[in-house]
Amino acid sequence: MTMENKPAILIVDDEKVVRDSLTKWFRQDGYDVDGAENGAVALKKMQARAWDLILLDIKMPGMDGMELQQRIKELDVPATIIFITAHATIDSAVQALKQGAFDYVTKPVDPDYLTHVVANALRQRSLSKENERLREGITSAARAEEIVGESPQIRKVFDLIDTVAKTDTTVMIRGESGTGKELVARAIHANSSRRFFPIVPVNCGAMTEGLLESELFGHERGAFTGAHYRRKGKIELADGGTIFLDEIGNISMKTQMDLLRVLETRQFTRVGGNDVISVDFRVICATNKDLERAVKEGTFREDLYYRLNVFTIVLPPLRERRSDIVPLAKYFLKKYAAQMNKPVTGFAPDAMDVLLQYEWPGNVRELENAIERAMVIGSPPMLTPNDLPFKLSDTVGAVRSGTLADVERIYIQDVLHKNDWNISRSAEELDIDRVTLYHKIEKYGFKKPA
């Protein structure tokens, strides 16, 4: 999304290098930018057209910044003024602000600070208009990546997402690795009122205690050896939006305590800092661990567990929603065909057999990886079993190792597929009547491929 009605910024500075670099910087943000090398040129440009914001240097030959500000006021130019100077003094800052400047910054300025000062100034000028434009613009940005599936199990998940997204409730997503917990978190966020702000994922399992602390809370410059620069924490980045704490079951007792405090107060301090920062965020967390057992064993705080476990969504493993394998496989094929610009249009029937019979211990992620790999090595127009990272023998082994119900489910699906979903032929081959077969289809959530 890019800006439509570009705000106009005039940079008044006698140094060409400053004008040029600021012009480039703000043009990349989509602003309409021009420069003036002195007060007289600036006044001419102000007469020629309207400006939203004027960035004004204080020390300039001839008319200095303070004098120019006075002239702008007399001429009643409706622009916001920000002073930007290499020669900061308290007196000049006080005078500038007294005369109505929006802010006063010192060169060189932090890019983040300058970006925010300018954005705040412009926002203040036309808050309601700007706000509306932002909302319109971000609606398309907030669309969640599609969760694919039509099985009764995944439809139940869609209903739960729909229900909880409208609230601000903390959500815990449970499910095996690779079932798509982050996608569900993103879908909840994208359908919530917080969608205009970011969702910030944190993989709690991938970090040591100290690192996670810095990752969550950020740190001040000089907080510890090597901290040369201030760092924003994920919690601060999630202000207004959602923080997604993945693998929450893997955090240390100390971090559990710190996190609990933030969840209760919505306040924290950066590591090495004294300022208390207030934040407003929603929490979604995920785990594949047995948290109830961890609470009993004393490795997970009970109070944190109850704070997080308010609304639970359990994601079924792919082997329990086999009817989704076909639509998922087609979805990933289409995705990678477009990405790799490869005219692969589908799966050979025996390749689809392999996909349907495999147990998918790594769930949807494993399926996606298998298809991405197949797309790399396969040739158009169809993917064949040779393109897949496993053979039918692997899948047979998987069937053998399952329960009786697993074996029945996989066998029935295989027969249905082999007979192109002809119910009579499939029932005959299975030596059961058609009604029984319909019951089995319903029981296992099979769906005829489109």
Binding site: E15, S21, W25, I84, K107, P108, V109, P111, S140, P198
Partner: protein, 181 residues
């Protein structure tokens, strides 16, 4: 109009890592990408009082060296590992000529070590790749985007780079397509 970009490597990163980045940059921008080594004269752009290199100066040096060379419509992006600045700001991750020909991107402030946390070579490469796509996007005429996940989102903190994907959002994709027609 065809798109192609030449990545001029002046970093100490391994060739194999850069080759992977090259493939992904090509995929993200749907363009041809070539990688070659580059030795810029950093003494020309080093500001001794700040201990940083002027990114605009580096773009100028590239312009002096590559103008009139390369294929028509070819763009150039220098990959460096020095601390970059523009005069009015304390630092920049990179700089590009909007709708122009040259860009420069540095690994310097993308490294975890700069912030006092343990090195993470994989994360560094991810960030570098996103910043290369971002600056190359500017060279192809794209502006900053408000989509939090779009690679063209402006990032002034390294953590904000981590929030982005390494690809263009659908809106930026459409703008890019229109520009290339």
């Amino acid at each position: 109009m065809s798109r192609n970009i030449r990545l001029l490597n002046a970093t100490g990163l391994e060739k194999s890592s850069l080759e992977s980045i090259t493939v992904r940059v090509a995929r993200a921008l749907h363009c041809d990408v070539r990688l070659e080594s580059y030795r810029p004269d950093l003494t020309r752009v080093l500001d001794p009082t700040r201990g940083q290199c002027h990114s605009g100066g580096l773009l100028k040096e590239m312009q002096d060296r590559f103008n009139g060379r390369g294929e028509p419509n070819e763009r150039f992006a220098a990959l460096v590992d020095v601390d970059l600045f523009i005069p009015v700001l304390t630092f920049v991750f990179g700089e590009a000529q909007l709708d122009g020909k040259y860009a420069v991107i540095s690994t310097y402030r993308l490294k975890n070590e700069f912030y006092g946390i343990p090195a993470d070579p994989g994360r560094l490469l991810e960030r570098f790749e996103k910043e290369i796509v971002h600056e190359a996007g500017h060279v192809f005429g794209l502006l900053h985007c408000r989509n939090f996940e779009c690679v063209m989102r402006s990032s002034t903190y390294v953590e904000e780079i981590d929030l982005k994907r390494n690809s263009l959002c659908s809106d930026c994709e459409s703008i890019m397509e229109r520009k290339m027609e």
